[in-house]
């Protein structure tokens, strides 16, 4: 029981502190770098920069039709586990309670068994993603320890969560504690690895969106 108390208490507090501090540190550290202005005249009829940015953020949610075929597996599989993770995290009743306790917001939950099913699919997709990263020559060349650690930090909460829900493998308080600790590990690692793309993706796409809407290109 001590482990569960530690997990629900100190561990989460430290994890949130590191998560928030790290994320803002990295975000501020990037956004406060010098902003190189573009003095060239914009393309005639080009939308305002911010609109160009927002459009790019939304448009780049799905690959352009020319690339759908070539990136089919990566796109579909990634969306399976991204949407899966979202449904599990925001759909399971205990998770909603965790969020309510943190923020005061709450909403109706999905049936727990359904969420369990989604969790299993998410786990499968994540394993699929790792398999591809280990097999595909391009991904093997690109990947470094950070990528595999980010994968591990994402998959552990899913595994421990499924085990905790099915009360398998140990006493429940241990399973729940391990699950919470794995989430704490995810939060601590988040700002320092590529999980940060969950925050940076909008700024990154936006910057390119601005650069090219200035030139009259729908990037």
């Amino acid at each position: 029981m001590e482990l569960l108390d530690f997990a629900r208490g100190t561990a989460l507090a430290i994890a949130f502190a590191v998560f928030v501090a790290g994320t803002l540190w990295r975000l501020a550290g990037v956004l406060l770098l010098p902003r190189i202005r573009d003095f060239s005249p914009a393309r005639e009829g080009a939308p305002p920069a911010m609109l160009g940015a927002v459009r790019a953020v939304l448009r780049r949610m799905w690959p352009r039709k020319e690339f759908v075929q070539a990136t089919m597996f990566a796109t579909i599989n990634s969306y399976v586990f991204h949407i899966g993770l979202a449904l599990v995290v925001f759909g399971l009743a205990p998770h909603i309670l965790f969020i309510r306790n943190l923020t005061g917001l709450a909403w109706p939950a999905l049936p727990s068994n359904l969420v369990f099913g989604i969790g299993v699919i998410t786990l499968a997709a994540l394993v699929g993603a790792l398999a591809r990263r280990l097999v595909h020559p391009v991904l093997r060349l690109l990947s470094h320890t950070g990528d595999y650690l980010s994968w591990l930090m994402t998959v552990l909460p899913v595994i421990t969560g499924l085990l905790a829900t099915s009360h398998l493998g140990a006493r429940y308080e241990t399973l729940l504690a391990v699950h919470i600790l794995s989430v704490a590990a995810l939060l601590v690692w988040f700002p320092f690895g590529k999980l940060m793309h969950a925050v940076l993706f909008a700024f990154s796409r936006g910057a390119t969106g601005m650069r090219f809407s200035h030139r009259g290109v729908n990037v």
Partner: protein
């Protein structure tokens, strides 16, 4: 294949200039790569999730299947340089040695990836789910490579020539003679060095060599307009080799030459020739050197022709036959002029059959960004050219037109190598040859 300039153990081909020590080269590369690191470049360096999708868009990977051509991989050493020099955790990463320092052998090995197998065409930028503008980062990586004196010899040679003459192949002094000869050959007046004019016309290096017909075509159209224009020894080569090589000093000097000349002669417009990187260097980056909006309008030949036709200031005959168009990357994908050439071709009454991949996601000709000039990269370029050749063949169009001199050279060389009977026509010359009298 160019011989390796200095004695090196059996290493993949790379060239080296200057007598800097390895450490100073690495330091120069790292610092100058990071020197003008803005928010956008930093955001892009921070956002890669190593998903590998950019490879699927890159013609070098698609043609060869080799993983090393993955666009984001071309930035690997520079990613480390960024993390150590400008990243938010730079002090930590440097202090704890989490990210290893750049090594000279890595930079040498990467020269081939940065120069030979990347045309900075930006097709990878169109697929990256994180919206990373990889082409721009490669250009900034070239700044570092240039400072480190690690540029392919052929490009370094052209760089030195441009520093001396203002153009890689033609000294400024020869401009009047070249123009005079072209004028005589094509029977059209090409003014040079007028003290005052409304439009300063600039050229691409090839147009000052064998392709002088382009100058004549431009002259014919401008004569029809009856505007006051001139070319000028002070600033005549717009293709800006510095932009391709990563030589920022030269890029600035060449750009200033053109803009200052325009201002000197009171020109309101600078007309860029049919050239891709000229558009990148002048249209989007000229103002950077002045730190404010420029009082002169910079327009590319393609959009100029479209404007003339739409405003009915020139009329063209109805050619009628089928045509397919190659979208030069810097003009369409990264320049935003997809509609202009199509307006012109429509006005010419030509039946446009688009290639499988066209417009902003069209494949690159494979020779841009200095690759066609970099002779050492020819074998790779020829292999990559096959993609474009097959797409053009598939349209079975009678005409094949594009609006960039570098692309034209690449297509001509590619056709020769592949024994392919396909003439590449210039949009400018097509218009000039079909002006209604």
């Amino acid at each position: 294949m160019s011989a390796v300039s200095t004695a090196r153990p059996a290493h993949p081909a790379y060239d080296q200039q200057g007598e800097q020590s390895d450490e100073t080269r690495v330091d120069a590369a790292m610092r100058s790569f990071v020197r003008e690191f803005g928010v956008t470049a930093a955001l892009h360096m921070e956002s890669c999730v190593r998903c590998g999708m950019c490879a699927e868009a890159c013609h070098f990977y698609v043609a060869t299947g080799e993983a090393k051509h993955t666009p984001i991989h071309k930035l690997e050493p520079f990613r480390r340089a960024y993390l150590r020099e400008a990243g938010p955790f730079a002090p930590l990463v440097r202090g704890l040695g989490i990210v290893k320092k750049l090594r000279i052998d890595e930079l040498q090995k990467w020269q081939e990836l940065i120069y030979d197998s990347c045309t900075m065409c930006g097709r990878c930028t169109m697929v990256c789910p994180m919206g990373i503008d990889i082409a721009e980062l490669v250009k900034e990586a070239r700044h570092g490579m240039f400072k480190a004196g690690l540029v392919p010899d052929r490009l370094a040679l052209m760089d030195r020539a441009a520093q001396k003459w203002g153009s890689p192949a033609t000294p400024g002094e020869d401009l009047p003679d070249i123009l005079a000869e072209a004028a005589k050959q094509y029977g059209v007046d090409i003014p040079c060095d007028l003290p005052q004019a409304d439009i300063l016309v600039t050229a691409a290096p090839a147009e000052l060599g064998e392709h002088t017909k382009a100058l004549a075509s431009a002259a014919k159209i401008l004569k029809r307009l009856g505007v006051k224009w001139t070319m000028h020894q002070g600033g005549f080569d717009a293709s800006n080799i510095g932009f391709n090589n990563g030589d920022l000093a030269l890029q600035e000097r060449l750009t200033r030459a053109i803009i200052d000349t325009a201002l000197k002669i009171g020109a309101k417009t600078v007309l860029l020739p049919e050239c891709g990187h000229a558009y990148g260097a002048a249209r989007w980056e000229a103002a950077k050197w002045y730190g404010k909006a420029l009082p002169v309008r910079i327009v590319h030949m393609t959009e100029f022709l479209a404007e003339l036709i739409e405003s009915k200031r020139i009329q063209v005959k109805n050619v009628g036959e089928t045509v397919t168009f190659h979208d030069p990357c810097q003009i369409v994908r990264r320049g935003g002029l997809q509609a202009a050439p199509r307006t012109v071709l429509a006005a010419l009454g030509m039946d446009l059959i688009e290639m499988k991949d066209h417009g902003v996601t069209g494949y690159c000709c494979g020779g841009g960004g200095g690759v066609v000039s970099n002779v050492r990269a020819s074998p790779l370029r020829h292999k990559v050219f096959e993609i474009k050749r097959q797409q053009i063949e598939a349209t079975a169009a009678k005409h094949f037109v594009t609006s960039c001199g570098q692309c034209q050279i690449t297509f001509e060389q590619g056709a020769k190598f592949a024994h392919w009977e396909r003439k590449t026509e210039s949009l400018l010359e097509l218009v000039a040859d079909n002006l209604v009298d």
